[in-house]
Symmetry: C2
Subunit: 212 residues, 2 copies
DNA sequence: GTCTATAAACCGATAGAC
DNA sequence: GTCTATCGGTTTATAGAC
């Protein structure tokens, strides 16, 4: 149980990542210095290199960790139900989960170009996996007649952009509660893709005529 | 008409701004050096200070110039017609105009925090003016019964986020033409805010009953 | 595991020659 | 208007003491 004095690897490590995440989001990767991060943690700059081989890898690890959490969180959601319900589950999950990780979301969008090509490719794959989850909902809804979408890929990107926007203005103690924001966005997303009632009736009518 | 040899102020000035815009968008303000910009233009680093007092002012001038162009462009559009038509005009303008200025759009979103508080406030005012133009369309449509929006401010931000997203993935020689992208986005925006037919009928019916 | 000290390079901005 | 040279300060990363 005895721990060597001066050994804080399992404490300092997470503190380094947390400080780096916050500083990168606040000031940008390029303009944050290793000395700033070290100062935030309460160690000297040289000590940081016990926890990361270099500055760029520190950024990459933060972004990969974030994307993995997003994918794990999505996998833990309950996606039973029809496409309309699944879309609501997705939009509510996305808003809630991303609002809790605004620093990481911001960095994920802005600092990708500070990565090497290989590191970028890894994150790009993870992002695509996430987008595919939404697109498959749209495709299913299109097939079942719940949705009326011209282009599922484009619509996927449009919806995610819309949902991401919430991270740029939402304030936890602001005018609207999280529940209300989730509801409004979820409603907008639904309306943007759902088949209109009159159009659905028209199609059902045409199908009936075809049968008769 | 004779021009002093070595005098290229009216040529080099724009070249400096163009190079800075491209480099800032590509690599981020903080990681672009004055020497890189100078090299791109074909002069030495010291010569740049004939065209800007310092690096930060160079960024600010680029962003203010961009926002002014956006506001001028918007003012030149024809906003006659009902709210549904005006919303389409706005969305198509936004997509077209922003896709032609992707570097500036990207920087406008990411590099605001590298500005002084005063400079930031100037751009924030201009941005708000632009958002207000969209919100007034939503308010008018809400009043006229064309739209069914829970919160015009939030919806404004959501729509602009959605439209901005196009700049992150659109490729001029991609699968979809600009016209088609404009049409799909405009359609999605319209559906997201428009009053459903059945709901409008219900309201008109209720109004009729109230009269009787 | 953290410190101090330092290497090697680079930065923004300025001064003065032409 | 542009150049060269340079000042004063910063950076990432490493070496070695404790």
């Amino acid at each position: 149980m005895a721990r060597k004095i001066g050994s804080h690897s399992d404490i300092t490590g997470p503190k380094v990542r947390a400080a780096a995440l916050r500083l990168f989001a606040r000031h940008g990767f390029a303009s944050v210095t290793m000395r700033q991060i070290a100062s935030e943690v309460g160690v000297q700059a040289g000590a940081l290199y016990l926890y990361t081989p270099d500055k760029q890898t520190l950024l990459f690890d933060l972004l990969r960790e974030h994307m993995q959490e997003v994918l794990d969180g999505l996998a833990a959601e309950d996606f039973s139900g029809n496409p309309v319900e699944r879309l609501e589950t997705f939009t509510r999950f996305h808003i809630r989960f991303h609002l809790e990780r605004r620093d990481a979301v911001f960095i994920s969008y802005m600092e990708l170009r500070n990565l090497t090509d290989e590191n970028f490719a890894v994150l790009e794959d993870m992002r695509r996996t996430y987008e595919d989850a939404l697109e498959s909902i749209l495709k299913d809804g299109q097939a079942s007649g719940h949705f009326d979408v011209e282009d599922t890929k484009l619509t996927t990107l449009a919806l995610i952009s819309m949902l991401n926007g919430v991270t740029t203005w939402y304030k936890p103690d602001g005018r609207l509660s999280l529940e209300r924001v989730e509801a409004i966005y979820s409603d907008m997303a639904g309306k943007a893709v759902r088949m209109a009632r009159w159009k659905r009736k028209q199609m059902l009518g045409a199908a009936g005529q075809a049968k008769a």
